[in-house]
């Protein structure tokens, strides 16, 4: 394949600006890495509290991503295929969690599902308490992370059109079979990148989790909360926070690299 670098298509000032931007992104992370040494890092990362937080983070983020996929794909399909005007009316509500401060999202969830909330009261009567449980962590993560998946998949569905689905229908396929065998494979790249964004957002989720699920070790203290606790907590040294933060960065990078490799195959 010929890969020509044609002069005159990309402005010359793009390269220096891009380099500065990269530096701006990398510098804080390098500063973080320079703040600690290997011994502290190993000690902090292998501590039971850290392993507990990482396990909880990965578990809840994976669960939240799976739920986002199951709930978000149908929503994306509806927004892409329903009449344009209706979709335009509904889309802002889907995107709202993206623009709200996560703290507000947590507050909203608490008011809905808390003991005195309209739904929470009803759940409490049935003996179900959501706030400050691991389930609450997952709910908070789904709430803030799902829009990434919906936006990504809806865009792909719109740009691909429904020609393939129409052909599948004329071949006798029922709607559910069409979605499973034609629609999902058609938007698979967008779905994959949407899932990745969703997982990354869930993994880093802090504000809504802190508000709605609290910060109980083992049940709701995910990595971001553990970092916050280590940094702010009395008697705990800040090196542990740095080490945990680095660990989270490494996990995020690994997930992204793994996904990039998979999608190239």
């Amino acid at each position: 394949m010929v890969r020509a670098r044609v002069p005159g298509l990309v402005p010359v000032w793009v390269a220096p600006v891009a380099a500065v931007t990269l530096l701006c992104v990398a510098a804080p992370l390098l500063a973080l890495a320079g703040r600690t040494d290997a011994a502290t890092l190993v000690a902090a990362v292998t501590s039971p509290a850290a392993r507990q937080a990482l396990t909880l983070s990965l578990g809840t983020a994976l669960t939240a991503t799976a739920i986002s996929c199951l709930l978000g794909f149908p929503l994306a399909l509806a927004l892409a295929r329903w009449p344009t005007r209706l979709a335009a009316l509904l889309r802002p509500f889907v995107l709202l969690p993206l623009v709200l401060p996560p703290l507000v999202s947590g507050l909203a969830l608490l008011f809905l599902l808390g003991r005195r909330g309209p739904v929470g009261r009803w759940l409490a009567e049935a003996g179900i308490t959501l706030p400050f449980t691991t389930t609450a962590v997952v709910i908070a993560q789904v709430f803030v992370a799902m829009p990434f998946l919906v936006v990504s998949v809806e865009g792909a569905l719109r740009s691909k059109g429904d020609g393939h689905e129409a052909v599948a229908a004329t071949l006798g396929a029922r709607p559910t079979r069409i979605v499973a065998t034609v629609t999902v494979p058609l938007v698979a790249p967008a779905l994959r990148s949407g899932l990745l964004l969703c997982f990354a957002r869930a993994l880093g989720e802090f504000g809504a989790t802190a508000m709605f699920a609290g910060n109980a070790p083992g049940t709701t203290r995910t990595m971001p909360l553990a970092i916050y606790t280590a940094f702010n907590g009395a008697g705990v040294d800040k090196d542990a926070a740095v080490a945990l933060a680095l660990e989270l960065v490494v996990v995020a990078v690994l997930v992204m690299v793994a996904s990039a490799v998979r999608s190239k195959r």
Binding site: G163, H164, A166, T170, L171, P175, V182
Partner: protein
């Protein structure tokens, strides 16, 4: 499992090149009485006000032609159930799939989903399922037990020469190969009716010719009825028995291919048939165009004068009153006029034609305009507006058609056709 179309309906004409026998393993059933499709497609979409009656008999291929935005694709989408409308009706093999036909009582039927209609659809974009192999694309619409599915898929792969490609991913194929996959996939689902929405338009000339031949053979073998939307007279000639000309959502002309293209009554059909169509009247064995120019007509009862097709409603006698004059483009020619002062020497070796003879009429005139058509340039001339004579591109380059250039236009009188303007 779907029923198989009957093959015992008489009176069907099919184009040349179709194999005689149908090598299928299925038992022929008796065809249901009446047309395969009886529909009236009524819809309002933007500027389009569509109202088209459409009947397709068993084994019949109907071509739907017309200018852009005349509603051809909308007709197909309404038939397939990919669009729904409150008005009109769609009856397939006796089952109402939308609306209420006039001969039935009760409330209009809400449009059924496309997957219930058993109608195949082949569009300009083959829409192959890129993530699947060619084999799994073809097998997509095949129903029944595993052994039958496999046998049917194999038969279709073989019929369309896809065996060598069977395990390739469909998105790795060329456009022509993808079109073959789409055709095999549509046929494998065993539809009662095939809708063809310019399936050859996006292909290059060679690939289109290949698919056209296969399509004609496949339709003939199965006696599969079809509705074909096209802009190409080759498709009409090779595939269709009947033509419907649409214009702004209404039927402008309809009938057998020979009639509609041989005696066109719409500018679109005339352009499709490469015919100059002029409105006028017959006065004393002369054609008088509405714009005033005249052309002598050969004597009556000359068998070559205006051969009406046997199934045409036009009487064999020369019509009188309001008529159409149809001049095939190859009955018209254009050369330098004798003694044309402004002609360049490079114009060509041809000597000017002799003056008017009993079987040819000429005018010495000037070119007023040029048209680009799908098979070459046409020149309009001052003497006989409405007639467009083929002109070689090289002549244009040589400025032979400069405004002051005198040219001689010649009409072969035994090729012109004159027929009544109101269909008999």
């Amino acid at each position: 499992m779907r029923d198989v179309r009957g093959r015992s309906v008489p009176g069907r004409r099919r184009g040349d090149g179709a194999p005689d026998s149908a090598p299928t393993t299925e038992t022929p059933h008796q065809a249901p009485a009446g047309p395969v499709l009886d529909a009236r497609l009524v819809a309002r979409r933007g500027a389009l006000d569509l109202d088209v009656p459409l009947r397709v008999a068993a084994g019949e291929v109907v071509a739907l032609v017309g200018p852009n935005a005349s509603g051809k694709s909308t007709v197909l989408q309404l038939v397939a159930g990919l669009l729904s409308s409150r008005d009109g009706w769609v009856v397939l093999r006796g089952t109402t799939h939308a609306g209420r036909p006039p001969d039935r009582a009760g409330r209009p039927v809400r449009p059924t989903a496309p997957y219930r209609r058993g109608i195949g659809y082949l569009g300009q974009d083959p829409h192959v399922f890129g993530h699947l192999s060619v084999r799994r694309n073809v097998a997509y619409g095949v129903t029944g037990p595993r052994a039958r599915r496999r046998a049917r898929t194999d038969a279709l792969l073989d019929e369309l020469d896809l065996v060598a490609l069977a395990d390739r991913r469909a998105d790795q194929l060329s456009g022509g190969e993808q079109a073959r996959v789409a055709l095999a996939r549509a046929l494998a689902a065993d539809p009662h009716l095939l809708l063809l929405d310019e399936p050859l338009a996006a292909l290059d000339v060679r690939a289109a010719a290949g698919i056209r031949t296969r399509l004609a053979a496949a339709l003939a073998q199965r006696r599969l009825p079809a509705v074909l939307v096209t802009h190409d007279v080759l498709d009409v000639a090779a595939l269709a028995e009947r033509v419907i000309v649409l214009d702004r959502g209404q039927v402008a002309d309809a009938g057998p291919v020979a009639g509609v293209l041989g005696q066109p009554r719409t500018p679109f059909a005339a352009a499709l048939a490469a015919v100059s169509l002029v409105a006028g009247s017959v006065v004393d064995d002369r054609f008088v165009a509405e714009s005033g120019w005249q052309l002598p007509l050969p004597p009556r009862n000359d068998p070559q004068a205006a051969p009406p097709p046997s199934d045409s409603p036009t009487a064999p006698d020369r019509p009188t009153g309001q008529v159409w004059l149809a001049v095939p483009s190859d009955a018209l020619s254009l050369r330098p006029a004798p003694g044309g002062a402004s002609l360049r020497a490079t114009a060509g070796p041809e000597a000017p034609w002799p003056d008017r003879t009993p079987d040819a009429w000429t005018w010495d005139t000037t070119v007023t305009g040029l048209q680009e058509t799908s098979d070459g340039l046409r020149a309009e001339v001052a003497a006989c507006p409405g007639l467009a004579a083929p002109v070689a591109r090289a002549w244009v380059v040589d400025r032979i058609v400069a405004p002051d250039a005198r040219v001689r236009v010649r009409v072969d009188l035994d090729r012109v056709r004159v027929y009544a303007r109101t269909p008999g």
